[in-house]
Amino acid sequence: MTTENTPAVSRNLEALTRGMWRENPAFVMLLGLCPVLAVTNSVINALAMGLATTFVLILSSTLVSLIRLWIPKQVRLASFILVIATSVTVVDNLLQAISFEVHKALGAFIPLIVVNCIILGRAEAYASKNTLSKSLLDALGFGAGFSGACLCMGTIREVLGSGTFAGIPLFGPDFAGWSIMVLPGGAFFVLGFLLLLFNWLHERKKTLHNVTTLAAERAP
């Protein structure tokens, strides 16, 4: 890593974009899979879950980053958990006020954001060691990456499962939905297939890279 030599702007950009693609929490690091699988049977639910998690991530990262110098090392995990639980309670009540329907659909999965490994992971690995602005960018990046993953799953499952996108019918009245897609089994299949796709892309990129470097070495 040559982060010491790069200018501050690109380092901040790196903190922001890292979570979106290269270290995507759901697809690359396989963290916090419970909500990605459980509530993505429709686009609206998936989006609400993504936004709620992003909000918790931003709130907890901000608080942890602000109080990081006052927390003794021995009790840091317990304090982080408390901060996260407080943020989740705030989000839970907020969502209930904004849209009661969505809150009912997500049910116990909103309070379960507390045990989402991504949030504790970012608090421990990044926010407890970095300044407020950088932690915010990092939280925003990882939140966007997580929301993107949720939305991706939600879109595939709703379009194939019920033939709609966010409630808008796409295929006309004759379309028979693949009911397996909205059932729990379908969630496992869609995520497995997406991981397969990413593996395939990664391997293809590696082979292409090898071929081009070999050709460049052989060229006179």
Partner: protein
């Protein structure tokens, strides 16, 4: 209306915590390589689930008494974490052999969404004390069952020839999908 046996079967088979609610996926994907570790993990989780469920019932009654429902989540997570710590110390002191057998899994259960999930579900469904215990027992049995089946399949899968792009998490998730479909066959049981 909801007998303890019905709740047990519902939590264990019909709405299996891992395969229908996706709770406790991390250990499900992480430690389901070998049958032996799967059984130990299942045992440890069931034990903690029972204790956490009993504690959560007490807290719920207390919070109703002082009229502060917004404290549910915070107090649950703190109590579960300290209960796991207490259990760990207790086992370490009185049965070192059991402690060694359970190893790191005991500490890791604190962050298992299964435990918090049981506490939250039993609160929202307003179970009484006996119902809570059978719910926790059913969830633990279901978790152990799913882990055991998965580890059996994965031990066979190691010997199978699969394309290199599918290896690892992708094929594990697809197997879990098939397993989840199989468990859907239990729907409607005990009605």
């Amino acid at each position: 209306m909801n007998s303890p046996l019905q709740i047990f079967i519902d939590a264990c088979l019909i709405n299996n915590f891992v395969l229908a609610y996706f709770l406790g996926l991390c250990p499900f994907l992480g430690v389901s390589n070998k049958t032996e570790t799967a059984v130990r993990m299942g045992g440890a989780v069931t034990f903690v689930l029972l204790i956490a469920s009993a504690c959560a019932y007490g807290i719920h009654q207390m919070l109703i008494l002082i009229n502060a429902p917004y404290l549910h989540l915070i107090s649950y997570i703190v109590v579960i974490a300290s209960a796991v710590q207490l259990v760990e110390m207790f086992i370490k002191k009185y049965s070192p052999a059991l402690f060694r057998a359970m190893g790191i899994y005991l500490a890791l259960i604190t962050t298992n969404c299964c435990v918090l999930g049981v506490a939250l579900f039993q609160t929202s469904r307003e179970y009484d004390f006996i119902q809570c215990l059978s719910f926790a027992l059913g969830a633990g049995a279901g978790f152990t069952l799913a882990l055991l089946i998965m580890s059996g399949i994965r031990e066979r899968l190691d010997l199978a020839t699969v394309p290199s792009v599918v290896k690892g998490a992708a094929v594990t998730l697809m197997v879990a999908g098939v397993l989840s479909m199989a468990f859907m066959g239990f729907a409607g049981m005990g009605r």
